[in-house]
């Protein structure tokens, strides 16, 4: 699958990531991103061995704090933490719409008092994870905040692409679908443009964020035009509740013009890779056969890379805190 040399796991390569938290991709440098991807690469190999467990994070506590339902991302973080030997606790907080904010700060303060080393946080509101990170002593990983960022998703997408194509720079990547509400899209745009890829975004105007070109991308409302010559096609999940006449007239119409099928895919390069952050709405944003095309679709590989990337992030952030100071003084 890959001919990339991998570092031997355990011999800690110098990690150039120098932030206390991982709140987003925006602002990260090329060496920082490369360093995280290199580290993740080493964990891919480890995860394919029979004995997957290591003791790097023994004695460390990771709390997965999810204010929004997610099975995949939570499981991926949970596995990542456990494979590194950390104690992992999952907390799901269902929020009433009125008291959301209060719950957030209160929960942050409460958990902080238990001295977790890493808090992995997902929240339905943009900026909520930044806010929470200001109230805690440990490291915070953003596992998705509103429509803002989902940095580990962008890293796992980048790792998937890099392992398949050997590079990111110079590739032409199309991101298609509900850009307006997508944190995955924003993180990917930041990462890919930083790493020298060219990015196109494709969506109906009602799902296209304003002034998106200012983020260094080319915007298309015609999918075939947008896909022309692309190396990578990233599909985004469309929330079905947004397709009942509010943003687009119907699922049927959306699929006709913006769903990825072989016909539209024909505009991309013949070997273009198909990606999707999951979970997929087959027949809405992606045709079932395309999604399962073993020659083109790397969707399951993305899931695999997810665990490795999250191990790398946990590793990088806990090395930070070791070299810095003891855990939160009360």
């Amino acid at each position: 699958m890959t001919d990339r040399p991998t570092d031997s796991p355990g011999a800690p390569a110098p990690i150039l990531y120098a932030h206390r938290h991982l709140l987003g991709i925006e602002g990260l440098s090329v060496p920082e991103i490369t360093s995280l991807l290199d580290l993740a690469d080493s964990y891919v190999e480890q995860n394919r061995q029979a004995d997957k467990k290591r003791s790097l994070l023994r004695g460390r506590t990771v709390i997965n704090l999810f204010f929004e339902n997610s099975t995949r991302t939570r499981t991926s973080f949970e596995l990542a933490g456990k494979r590194l030997g950390a104690d992992v606790i999952n907390m799901s907080v269902t929020t009433s719409s009125i008291k959301k904010g209060e719950t957030l700060i209160d929960t942050a303060m409460t958990l902080n008092a238990m001295h977790p080393d890493v808090l992995v946080v997902r929240h339905p509101d943009s900026g909520a994870v930044n806010l929470l990170s200001q109230k805690v002593d440990g490291a915070v990983i953003n596992a998705g905040d509103g429509s803002h960022e989902h940095p580990t998703q962008a890293l796992l997408d980048a790792l998937t692409i890099r392992r398949r194509r050997g590079r990111l720079a110079g590739l032409l990547v199309a991101i298609c679908g509900d850009l307006l509400h997508s944190r995955v899209a924003r993180s990917n745009i930041h990462l890919l443009t930083t790493m020298g890829a060219r990015v196109r975004v494709i969506a109906p105007p009602t799902l296209m964020p304003g002034a998106i070109e200012r983020m260094g991308v080319e915007a298309f409302t015609d999918m075939r035009q947008g896909l022309q010559g692309c190396d990578i096609v990233m599909m985004l999940r469309l929330q079905t509740e947004r397709m009942q006449g509010s943003f687009v007239p119907s699922i049927r119409e959306y699929f006709r013009f913006y769903g990825l099928d072989y016909d539209k895919l024909g505009a991309a390069k013949p070997d273009a890779l198909i990606m999707h952050p999951g979970p997929m709405n087959r027949g809405a944003e992606i045709d079932s056969e395309v999604a399962d095309d073993i020659d083109r679709s790397v969707i399951r590989e993305q899931v695999e890379m997810g665990v490795a990337v999250r191990m790398a992030c946990l590793d990088a952030l806990t090395r930070q805190s070791t070299s810095n100071s003891p855990l939160g003084a009360s």
């Binding site: 957030l104 509101d125 900026g127 803002h148 200012r214």
Partner: protein, 441 residues
Amino acid sequence: MTTGSKSAKQTMRPVAFVNARLLDPASGLDSPGGLLTEDGRILDLGPQLTADGLPEGAEVVDCAGQCLAPGLVDIRVQLREPGEEHKETIATGSAAAAAGGVTSMVCLPNTDPVIDDVAGVEFIARRARETKRAKIYCYGAVTKRLAGKDLVEMGLLAESGALAFTDGLVAVSDARVMRRALSYASAFDLLILQHPEEPRLTEGGAMNAGELATRLGLSGIPRAAEVMMIERDLHLVAMTGGRYHAAHVSTATAIEAIRAAKRQGLRVTCDTAPPYFALNEVAVGDYRTFAKLSPPLRSEEDREAVAAAVADGTIDCIASDHAPHDQESKRVPFAHAAAGGAGLETLLPVTLELYHKGEAQLLDLLARMTVAPADLLRLPQGRLAKGAPADLVLFDLEAPARIDADRLRGKSKNSPFDGRPVQGRVLRTVVDGRTVFAAEE
């Protein structure tokens, strides 16, 4: 620099402010001189008035050459009383006003209960009498419970003291209701103030639409929402002959629409608030909820247009748009944070920036905060004139200071200007001849 201020409160003996730089936008006066007050009114003023030849027993305040101007008339504040006294009260808001040189202020009716009946207006009037640090007035709601449907008893409310009518933070969005409000109010020549935003375009929005909103993943409020509502209203004003005022104008296109309407001779005025000429959307930065305002902070281009319109008079008034909020309302994710900033104590120094930067004349800026709002609401104050109420602010035009939100006198500290270096400092505030605030040395 000041003398004998301690006794001013108890007695109503004459007070002479001497050695001042008199600034009166109403008459265009800007000259050294003195001002004499007695029984709460201005008895005399002018260059001839010096420490010599004052009435027997007059208290003398040596102004040391500092600026003496009419006290500020702030036509848009929320004092949160009744209903949200944990955020502000008439007493704490008045303390903030006094410290900011504001001697008169007009509260929005968005209290709990809403000021939509005579009892509500009388409640504010009674509390205002008990609070002697600033003159407090109120607007009546345009529609009952601010629901946008049924008109309040405008005539009766006006008789009991409501200065004008507005639905506060929400637009009167139904065109038919607005038409009737303007039309009915014209019988009494009453003013309607609009929160100019098309609500269907604003709903769910957290900040100005554009690149930054896209980056932050926040839902945007398009600039067009403002001008759309104003242009609709201008047609209704033309139909009805009503008096109309657009509150806190924030966009270049809205200003252009108002400029054109004024040229046509419509009875239209507008105001803005310091954030709209001193800040732009970049202040939101990394989800700073203190910079979440309504309308939202706009682009730099809009900020420049607002500043220019303040200077040239297209924008008639500057109001603080004082919107105190407690921590619980602001320390939440941006989309859920309450909109608005505390503004009473920063109104003067932030506005003076336009003078210090050479973008506006000093007397023009003062006019927007004194005589213009007073005339708009037909109040006798806001000017230095014989017989006018002795509402005054003495300020140091040049003194450097840094805005420190923690040191604000109001109950809530949510200033979008925290940490901002400014020039200009209130030294003394006088209401009806009584000193209600004197700066510590």
